[in-house]
Symmetry: C2
Subunit: 412 residues, 2 copies
């Protein structure tokens, strides 16, 4: 038997498969359009299943269509080590978001086969259903149902813009299978493109992902008093635009104080009435606040609330703050993170410990199984974009790190 620590993934095979998968529902601009539970998504999965079965895997699904390719181990009762991500894409998606994590998982299986490495428990590659949430508006749907965060019946009733439901598509495609949700998994590893510019900017090869930022979404509504833009003196106005200026400045100052990991994003601006010569009756916008530490996130929220109250008091503006989403920070499993870090150190690649700014299937799997993630750089930090791009060497390095971490967790 080969020394497992000397194993390397076959970067050419991985790259070739990434390019082959990109030919399934390609877009004119070089991206992919395999929206969840579409025929295109099914075509992508069929190609994956073809490869997985040729590699000796047993393929099965669960009730929400999550697909698992299992390489058996010596002990069929042992919990599997699982790797994976998703094959569905945004409507104008790239070639690597999700796909890379799935095909790198398959590459680990292929490498184990190449070197005839036996494992005690099974090794599985997971393809989670509808991670993107673009066609059916619930992102990380498959992993959410698997982890018990979402209800299957509720999820089946979600419809796309044409009125077709998740349940109808699962039935039509015959994707719902017998595997149990939340069954035991020894460890879960997800390799992904960073979807941000941090690794590229610092010319770092690998991101050792220690957790995921906590995230809160707010809808902030500022309520003024509509008044004619001409006859109404500036002094007596109750103009939400003036409060808005101060609130935006405060939000970005608050994020700056918690640099480099704090994120603040204001978007979805709208105002009423739609008239150029009336002081707005209301201005509404969304705020997305993120930080990997719950206490810091709490502090940022309080500072934002104070700033809103102060600006609105100054300008005699009413306000409401609604919380639309509250996703707690996630700290990944220490053993998983250590295995990734040992893997990258032994390979000699440059690395950075970092938190994920975006949500991934790993966020939900981490609720039930020891989990961590690995990032590789992507050009200009671009993702959810047809121009999404990585280099073959980068892809290969990530697969090597995934392989090394898996072997460590398998005690090989």
């Amino acid at each position: 038997m080969t020394d497992p620590t000397a194993l390397r993934a076959n970067g050419d095979r991985l790259w070739s498969r990434l390019m082959d998968m990109a030919q399934v529902a390609p877009t004119a601009a070089g991206g992919s359009n395999r929206q969840a539970l579409s025929d295109d998504d099914a075509d992508g999965r069929a190609l994956f299943v073809e490869w997985a079965e040729a590699a000796g895997c047993e393929v099965a699904t669960d009730g929400v269509g999550n697909l698992f390719a299992k390489r058996p181990g010596r002990n069929p009762d042992a919990a599997p080590l699982m790797m994976g991500s998703h094959l569905d894409t945004q409507p104008t998606g790239g070639r690597f978001d999700g796909v890379y994590g799935v095909l790198a998982g398959l590459e680990v299986v292929e490498t184990l086969n190449d070197h005839a490495v036996e494992t005690e428990g099974p090794v599985e590659v997971a393809v989670w259903t509808n991670e993107e949430g673009s066609r059916f508006a619930r992102s990380m749907m498959g992993s959410g149902v698997w982890a018990g965060v979402m209800d299957l019946d509720e999820v089946r009733s979600i419809t796309d813009e044409a009125g077709v439901s998740v349940g109808e598509e699962l039935d039509r495609l015959d994707w719902a299978g017998p595997l149990e949700f939340g069954r035991p998994v020894s460890h879960y590893l997800e390799l992904h493109i960073e979807q941000g510019p941090i690794l590229e900017d610092s010319a770092t090869e690998i991101g050792v992902v220690t957790g995921v930022q906590g995230l809160r979404w707010y809808t902030i509504r500022l309520e003024g008093f509509p008044a004619h833009a001409g006859p109404t003196p500036m002094e007596g106005r109750k103009d939400p635009s003036r409060a808005l200026a101060e609130i935006l400045s405060a939000i970005y100052a608050i994020a700056g104080e918690e640099a480099p990991w704090a994120r603040a994003t204001t978007a979805q601006f709208r105002s009423e009435p739609v008239s150029p010569n009336t002081v707005p009756e209301s201005i509404t916008f969304s705020l997305d606040l993120r930080h990997p530490d719950r206490d810091v996130l709490d502090g940022m929220e309080q500072a934002v609330r104070d700033a809103i109250a102060k600006a609105c008091d100054t300008h005699e503006i009413g306000f409401t703050i609604a919380i639309d989403n509250d996703s707690a920070p996630i700290t990944f499993d220490g053993d998983c993170v250590a295995s990734v870090q040992q893997s990258v150190e032994s390979l000699g690649y440059s690395y950075e410990r970092m938190v994920s700014g975006a949500g991934h299937d790993a966020c939900y799997i981490a609720k039930l199984a020891p989990t961590s993630m690995i990032f590789i750089p992507c050009a200009d930090g671009l993702s959810h974009n047809e121009a999404e791009s990585i280099e073959p060497d980068e892809a290969s390095r990530g697969a090597d790190v995934l392989l090394g971490a898996a072997l460590r967790l398998l005690h090989l």
Copy 2:
């Protein structure tokens, strides 16, 4: 013959007519809904015509339905002194906006009749078509066509939301008559509620209106780069929200430097994409800048342009600035303003010289005839609102001032 300077309007008759007119298409909340060129607008005009004809006036219209009630003078060839405003209202309009100016003009005619005052030239009361521009989206339409600012054929082709055109309604109502547009007028006086809080706040009875603020409307578009709210560090973002905060602050500082007459109003905020977790690709908003002095308005515009350029440079944001409307400041005729001021001084009412922040039919008439305006206070500065309110004494004082100014301009 009575000493003309001792004449007073009949406040009770004026108030009674205001209340009678308010019964034509009243709203549940106590306002009026007589949208331009509707049957309700026609009913309001019919009531006015009944009163005018009972007062001995000859009634006729021009091609855009402007209606003129003429009290003949000794010399039928002399240019008339004209007073007036409009009878159409916003959908949820008040009882006094426009109506007060028309019925006060009629009250001057009635008072001349009561005292058997003969005039050299005719005295006319004008009812301009579609001042509000709410049903047919072109405000001050009748006076605009009269003054040659708008083209009749173009105006006739404007349609309401149901697809009915101005031309079709003019024909259906038989409002188009033979009077010439832009015919000679010796002087034009328009009495109006202030539609702002200045007179009320200073407990002043009359506004001697010396002109109308210049107005410019801009659409400002800030162009950033869309990026994922999570993985994208704050530093590298091209976030138009950050430029927006600085631009709004600058705009209000610039208006503050030109207090008390400068006005700045930002509205119609919107942003793309409509996603809470994407740095906006663009933010668009409108800016309404006003000042009575063209040079100051030019300076404000330049200061705003500089502030936008600076903020966008700081945050690496692109921008465009479109001018949607550019209405030059108007300085009313010196003789007309002096007559109003002499009238109010001789009556002993408190007054303030002021500029109008809003547009009025007088703005267009001033292009062809010596013109000025008179304001009275309205409760809380409210207008375009069913709660619009004035007191009978206030209405009466305004009519007295209008009468006195007319008598002076008639050399009586």
